[in-house]
Symmetry: C2
Subunit: 238 residues, 2 copies
DNA sequence: GAGTGGTCTAGACCACGAG
DNA sequence: TCGTGGTCTAGACCACTCG
């Protein structure tokens, strides 16, 4: 059974998208909505709170609840959190992966610190070239503790590691720390990304955490310069 | 009067930071907490929900509420949203601004679209070199609708525009859209950022929105390459 | 089955904004 | 002053996990 507040949330969201509540307009007050949806005010409030978090509305004590001026832009905005990597940003058929390195090693001090490893716990080391529509999209260097996914095979590397881990191994992603920087071209970039000698490289370094806070992946992705590559974020306050 | 749930939130957060509730441990159940804090379970729940959003804990129906393994790392993590620009990331005394251009013009089509302007509404055009500890930190090219801040003066440009707008003009920031990319060096970078000819530039393009959804600033910041510049994000699911 | 969190109710009082 | 949203209560029922 779907929670009632979710039904209210979806109904109001649809009405905003269909401009039944146009941008800038005021929503009915919470008591009225509670009667309309035959529920209590608290439940309406919960639905409105979540719509505010999603960026559709904002409330002002004493005044009312209003549709944001840019509410319509929110509907297909990617959530800030885009896990699931490439396969979720592009349709699966357009994404290909070419494994270059698949190894089990002992971590460097850097990797050990990022993954918060004890002792000499071994890690997977994976280097993959990611292609979208057969053009180089990123060179991904990934490290994962073996303990979290003991059965990784080279076959999976051609496909989506994320899909495998979340669906088969049932790991739950909780968040990620990312560091984005501009870097100079290196030998591997020339070799795999078809970069030219003085092209800037967009580098995304990330540690992905599980829901309980354990780090489960440390990776460095290098994107070629072609005027197309950018990392976009939509940020909301609170 | 401070809301009760905030008091509960702060109390539990302190206990987590002081490791009275160590990482990985289970919190008392909601009924127990409600009794301890002499309140209702709903109020405890609200405090716990917000602690979860802040990344300190996670709850599992049927099992309990647990302190995240990396909870301690959260305490001084910048929120995902860092508005207020430089002056909030660095102590004020270290930041200086050197205005290069301060003008009122009609917007280019690009700027007009980003700021969702009607007709031929004029905009401020500002180009500033931002310095931290007297070294070039960024070259900021900013456009703002005049209507939102009619009294901007050149004096303010030496200081924090954000502080002026949020404190004096009382505008409330609601969120931002950012696009981060790696770019090639241009003439202005050589001139102001002390970049060398083939250095990569980290560029952050952003539109900042007010709480009601109106865009209020469009800017492009270019950061020099020196191994230090990176854009960091901490992302949490949900 | 016992214990946990998720949701919901039908009220209540308060803080704030606008006329 | 009145209408708004923010918070809070003291219960209740349900869904889920685990021993």
């Amino acid at each position: 059974m779907e929670p009632k507040y979710k039904h209210i949330l979806e109904t109001i969201k649809t009405q905003i998208i269909e401009e039944k509540y146009p941008a800038g307009s005021m929503l009915p007050d919470q008591n009225t909505l509670a009667k309309e949806f035959k529920t209590s005010r608290m439940t309406v409030k919960k639905a409105l709170d979540m719509l505010a978090i999603e960026g559709f509305i904002y409330s002002r004590r004493g005044s009312g609840t209003f549709v944001k001026k840019n509410a319509l832009a929110q509907q297909d905005a990617l959530p800030v959190n885009d896990y699931g990597g490439l396969s979720r940003r592009f349709s699966k058929s357009r994404v290909k992966s070419k494994p270059i390195v698949f190894d089990v090693t002992f971590p460097t001090p850097e990797v050990k610190e990022r993954l918060e490893l004890k002792q000499n716990e071994p890690v997977y080391e994976i280097l993959r070239l990611r292609l979208v529509d057969n053009t180089p999209y990123a060179l991904e260097h990934t490290f994962m503790p073996i303990s979290l996914a003991p059965n990784l095979s080279k076959e999976i590397l051609f496909d989506s590691i994320y899909a495998y881990l979340t669906k088969e191994v049932k790991l739950e992603i909780g968040g990620a720390f990312r560091k984005i920087s501009a870097e100079k071209t290196e030998a591997n970039d020339l070799k795999y990304l078809e970069s030219e000698a003085n092209d800037p490289i967009l580098q995304v370094e990330q540690v992905v955490y599980l829901q309980d806070g354990r780090p489960f992946e440390y990776s460095i992705s290098r994107h070629p310069y072609n005027g197309k590559h950018a990392y976009t974020i939509f940020d909301r306050k609170k």
